[in-house]
Symmetry: D2
Subunit: 501 residues, 4 copies
């Protein structure tokens, strides 16, 4: 499959979207249908595959498949997904390819009853855990770390009364063993659970649906608050890093608080830069507003004489507008994106391959001709798209000058916590200086926001006590990533230091 | 199928996209592949079905199916589409439903050899022509007016030398009989033809691909110039209303010029308002720039005291920005649209149905709260979406005031020339006054651009001699639409008057 | 697609199955469901595609697709096929390939209302008729002669009162123009019609369903009586050659009797030899019983000293049993056929290709070893299978001698009336003498039944006045086949002579 | 899905087909293609799903799906199944439904490397083994006992040197733990293994392919020898009950011989009666020949005055012929079966439901009318089909008398070893005496072969030392089936006694 987003453009890959919903028995809330539309709202977090698993406390039903959520589900396969609670998942395929065996939720029968898991993130010690479980005699059908989590939950409970399935204890145990990033929605026969890793690397929030009488009839956990708005649920709060929540007919309750000596939170700062929907709220602030602040800060840090400001659609437009506002320059549309572009199985022909960026973007010459243009983008990863875009603005748009401004710092390090950015060698800022990159992309000038600027823009509106993982910019990983064989001296394991803060 | 665009939103329906390509034999241009990407660029004009028909002058190959062009085609079914010329079509289903029998191109064997037709528009005398052909003994497999055109071309040529298939004469004959809107791409064994109706109701333009040596190796006709850019072709010119072009290895040549007593052109003015891509050029001007002018004009005609200006994504944002510029107010993002929304087979659940607009839009409260907001939209058709959007801005966004400004005049009349707007009864501006609409949608104020303002904004940059159909606003139809039974005295057949200008 | 039946075996191709059903309005007979099971019973006559078209007298519904009838239809696509009458078709693809455009029934809108046609046979003057209609301006979507018939019915009626759709006159007109083989089921808004060509080349019969009260509630026409039995209908009679029947709520009535100077009937004698189900009755006799007579006759005409008699499963077993009975030899199973064999997309591997007959047959050595074996087959067409079968019996079964006996005469001439036997060059008996064939297949002896023997066996039980086309054996065609370019002097156009009998 | 075989007919369900193939590296044998055709030959053993798993010693490839083997595989999905060894499976769905999760082969990653399992049979202690493994912390994705076997093989090897994956020891361990019926083909990175349970309840045999030079280039194990013939392999021998074979480039070798105190073999005697293909050899004898002996024996044990003998197609025809031979009566075809019948999604209509047997069978009145008929069937399970068949022969065929003779004893007990016969309550011979059954089916007389007769017919040609499970007739189960809650005193656990023989 020829993915124009991946092949021709320089965007970090998406991750996954996770959702869980419990409706009071008899409330009439259509659980599978609501899960579907919640996944629909989280489609930007993963377009490879989707799945929904529901239960009425006795039977468990599951349907999953490859493709967009709107392709995977229809009324015929949604109908059998009966029950008053369930979980759902949008997948972006990472390792293991897009085989059906890797599609989530993972669902197994265990000693303690059925359990299904939907996971956003990446365990940094998945191999260690998998090997340990294999040594105990467990076979795995996939290469997914989500299967590792799921089979971990099948373990007999030690130090636990055997007369009931103590999922709380088992989840706590998982929290002690698992390292890295995980936001989980878990279905059992008795309850749904939601859980974030102690660093809170991936977002997850809690909301509620109200019935006709104004009382809560259902509770939802989701990767982003935009999913809540879509189904008409109200936002309650973010899950705390390290928190485990149980939801059943008694509503949500915290079954494990974050550890008192927990490390400082380290939410992936790229959620603000690119991943999350602008209409989502994280850590008490609007993603859109953070992006405005990034644009403003960028204008202050890296001004340049020019006539107009344009952005790369769609995710960079808000930063471009803010930049223009601070710079006192007109913001105009300079690049138009084909709204219907998407995955196609068809390869471009020879004459198109020279300039594939045209398949996705066109330049508005009427706005650009003869102008000194500031082109704002949210990030540069591999650097394969910015060059063609600069050419497009200069040649197609006949701009006089093109000054590139980037609303995030140079990406110099890979991510091991669930974002398939690229390897060291593929990251242009790992291989080149800023000046080299400028020359490579053919811009008249190039500047990135500083790391301090990024943190300031993000931190300004966040709730007190928040912290962020910026390892892709700084190389300071909040968890031990030595398993990934990075021995070039640039990486530092930051988690202890943070924990000591 | 639950189409969120149709069910929940108030947008005029799309029409169709048409494309034709002739590559010199031996040029190496991959015709079917280029047709695919041209259709890909015209996807916004029709998402119901797609088809491509190619030929090498002997064999004719065709593949068509229901769905997006990226769903209909894959490398396996593209491969057999051999040949150095072909035509393609994106369909928006109107009457006849979305049956496969109605999918274009239509392809038949005739006395004169094979012929395939791709059509954008609507014949206003299709029933009369169809009945006449049925009386001569022709049976029809579909209800499509494109089949009427295709079977018309199968007729024996009168007054024509019988020794060769005189397609030019037959197309000219078609031009004498057919009434209404049609932009056609036609494939025969000898050439491809392109043709516009005498009023030029639907757009169509001509472009060329250059080879390594800088010489033209292929020519393309397409509904919009954006399709040319996408495949790397250069724009040559628009087809003239009433023109017939033949393309073969000798390049394009006009085989019928517009009649000297031709009526004044009447391009659908809604192409500027909504249909066309902003990066397309029509009549010598950029659609994007026209939309800027519409926003500016709207600000001049209908100012209001307010704090910020926002637009309905995506098609209204440029007008909103231009409005803000003239009004001296900040333009901000106020509504976020789910970029992955699209067709789904799943019906919303009960609690979602109350406010379906949330499935597609969310309000950015950070930007809206406490503000007096000007909300710019490009058009209001049935009025089913604007009310919920105003509520969303007011309740979800906590705006203090919401002033709606519309960049096109009230739509009071149906279209019979290929745009499935709605019937009289469904058009809110047919049933209500502006004040009644304001109350209905719950806005603090409501104003539309004037018809004069619309014509001024469109006409300012167009080539001399252009004219536009604004029947949906004015009720003055450029063709005889009496067949559609409109006897309410409001409609006037304008074509003669225009012809006399 | 690798069709083991076609590639590895020497069987004449199948033709088509046709069915029509009219149920009295309000009778409660589920028309589409009954048509489905009737087609199911006629599956042996065509496995490429299937279709059903129904009507309630106002709307017409149709569904058709490629594959077995059980693959084409499911409850979801059967449900919309409402109405109290309809027609159906099983297709064996001949010219034109297996494109969906060729799948029957053909359905068009005409001057006289909708008409749908299901056809078994082959028009020998299809090209002439098609050219004439093209000259009148009709375009064709397919290469099927069934479309020629369908469009013919769209013609304006000459010499007919214009106030009603006189289908009877139009069908009679068709009967005057069409030459060759056709058994038709035709759906209009007013009635269903059934029609056989004047020679009665293809079979067709009439039956009825009884309601609870013992009265007829529905009438059915079908290619074979076995379809009647399957849905619980009783057999009424065969259609006469040249007869046209109309069925509506008044029941069936003959609207055109055969012409008094009609040619002698010429039912395809191969229906008895191979095509028809053994449990069908044609011309008043059981196909199974005719095959018994063929086996007996063969034994009388071509005895040989041997130990046992075996047949090629499944169609030749009855003749083999009858041969054994007359010969006074034991009949035993010698070859086992894989019952689940069928179409597969997988090509055999290299080592299998040497002996593909093993994919379908195995030899029972326990029954064959050391024996002198008489192997009975119903026919030899291209001669590609009999050689491997003889080897299988001799080498795999370790038979001492293998004597081949064939229950039909040598096939020396192609069929142009709807059976895709093979071309002259492919027919082994056209190229070789019997002795050469014997050597070619490696048999110890080879004998065919005589043409007189065949006619005697068939004629013994048939109703008086019946006659049969044996052109593939005799080269005496009952219709003019000169259009097919057979000028080798061996063919004689027999129809006049027969007409004079 | 409406399965005419299941709903309308009284046949025991099929089981599964298993195959494994190892080709010498570089031999050029196309492994996946050969596995496909071997499964094709075993299609009668399971039509619900199919799968193939191959390896080159490093990578493992798998494809599986629901449907016939010809529906599951095409050249596109066969191509990636690279490697010089592999296993395959045809599934008949039993408990767990036809979910894709239950389709074989099962393939997992284990401590010892990848392992894939194809299984024919049923573990009688699957629940016990599954519970034990769950208690150790293994979660299961399905309800299949094959997953139990597969996960069992993932266990750490006790008493085994840790430096290599000692599959032989682990398979031997499996053999100690597993109870019931299992014939297995197992793929690992190093070898393929084949294994039969100690009782040899399900058949499995070994064969070889020869190269151009006459040397063995590949070895195959399969459920039935007919699969060997189909791909051109020669039969070597049956696997011994309890034997484990390893096949790699050194050819096949026995890695575990049957235990010296092994119980007496107990091959399912129903393989002879119905399951196996007639052209397969089991225990040194032809299944076809056994069925002849059954018919002869039946004629000796249960003669009756009559005019003709007929059989129920297809599986009973050979017994009917043999009966006729002994009885000195003519054998004729009396019932015709629709050869294209198969699974359909369409329910019969009301008027068809009364006599569904007609959808599959018709009576040949010409052969039956006025005759005293002996109708031979191979077995009666639920008794739902025989009544309608007797009616069909009597009413449709107008037979004077109908005497039913059954070539197996009354089935009074369910099977727990992999054949989904029916529950106690469904077995007509469990609820009724022979006389009651006769009255129920409306026959003039009814007789079954005796158990002694069955054993004599089967045992006559089998190799010395063979024994057979006849629990469905006798209630004497060769394994402990107490887990299935049969406490009616009729069942006896026979295995110890047999072991002591």
């Amino acid at each position: 499959m020829h993915d124009l987003d991946e092949e021709t453009l320089d965007r970090p890959h998406e991750e996954c979207g996770v959702v869980g919903l419990w409706a009071k028995k008899g409330s009439g809330v259509e659980v599978a249908r609501n899960l579907f539309f919640a996944l629909y709202a989280l489609q930007h977090r993963g377009q490879e595959a989707a799945g929904i698993c529901t239960s009425d406390g006795t039977l468990v039903n599951i349907h999953k498949g490859l493709g967009l959520v709107s392709q995977v589900f229809n009324e015929d396969n949604l109908r059998p997904l009966q029950g008053h609670f369930g979980i759902g998942h949008n997948r972006y395929s990472t390792t293991g390819g897009n085989h059906i065996a890797n599609v989530q939720p993972f669902y197994i029968q265990t000693l303690h009853g059925p359990v299904a898991v939907a996971h956003n993130g990446n365990l940094t010690n998945a191999t260690v855990m998998r090997d340990a479980m294999m040594s105990r005699g467990v076979g795995f059908i996939s290469t997914s770390d989500t299967e590792v989590i799921t089979q971990f939950l099948a373990r007999p409970s030690m130090n636990v009364r055997a007369d009931r399935p103590n999922w709380e204890a088992r989840l706590a145990h998982l929290g002690e063993e698992a390292e890295g990033a995980y936001s989980l929605a878990i279905l059992t026969r008795e309850a749904i659970f939601a859980m974030r890793d102690p660093l809170g690397l991936r977002p997850m929030c809690l909301g509620a649906l109200k019935g006709e009488d104004g009382k809560h009839t259902a509770w939802i956990v989701a990767s982003e608050s935009a999913a809540l708005l879509t189904i008409g649920a109200s936002f309650i709060r973010d899950l705390k890093p390290g928190e485990i929540i149980r939801i059943d007919d008694d509503g949500p309750r915290t079954v494990r608080e974050p550890h008192e000596r927990a490390p400082k939170p380290a939410l992936c700062i790229f959620e603000y830069v690119y991943f999350a929907r602008p209409d989502s709220h994280i850590e008490g602030q609007s993603v859109h507003v953070v992006r405005q602040r990034l644009g403003r800060r960028l204008a202050q840090e890296a001004p340049v004489e020019a006539d107009i400001v344009i952005g790369v659609p769609d995710s960079s437009l808000v930063a471009a507008q803010a930049y223009a506002h601070v710079a006192g320059l007109p913001y105009v549309d300079g690049l138009i994106k084909n709204r219907y572009i998407g995955r196609t199985f068809i390869q471009p022909s020879q004459q198109m391959r020279k300039n594939q960026v045209r398949l996705k973007f066109t330049a508005l010459r009427d706005n650009l001709e003869g102008k000194r243009v500031i082109l704002v983008d949210d990030s540069i990863v591999r650097g394969t798209t910015m060059g063609p875009l600069v050419s497009l603005v200069r040649d197609g748009g006949r701009a006089k000058e093109v000054h590139v401004r980037v609303a995030s710092p140079p990406i110099q390090h890979p991510c091991f916590m669930g974002v398939d950015l690229a390897s060291h060698d593929q990251l242009i800022a790992h291989r080149m200086t800023v000046e080299q990159i400028r020359a490579h992309i053919g811009a008249d000038s190039l500047a990135y926001i500083t790391r301090d600027g990024l943190h300031a823009a993000v931190g300004e509106g966040a709730r007190p006590g928040m912290g962020h993982c910026d390892a892709c910019f700084s190389g300071r990983y909040p968890v031990d990533v030595s398993a990934f064989g990075l021995d070039d001296g640039k990486l530092q394991f930051e988690s202890r230091k943070r924990g000591e803060d």
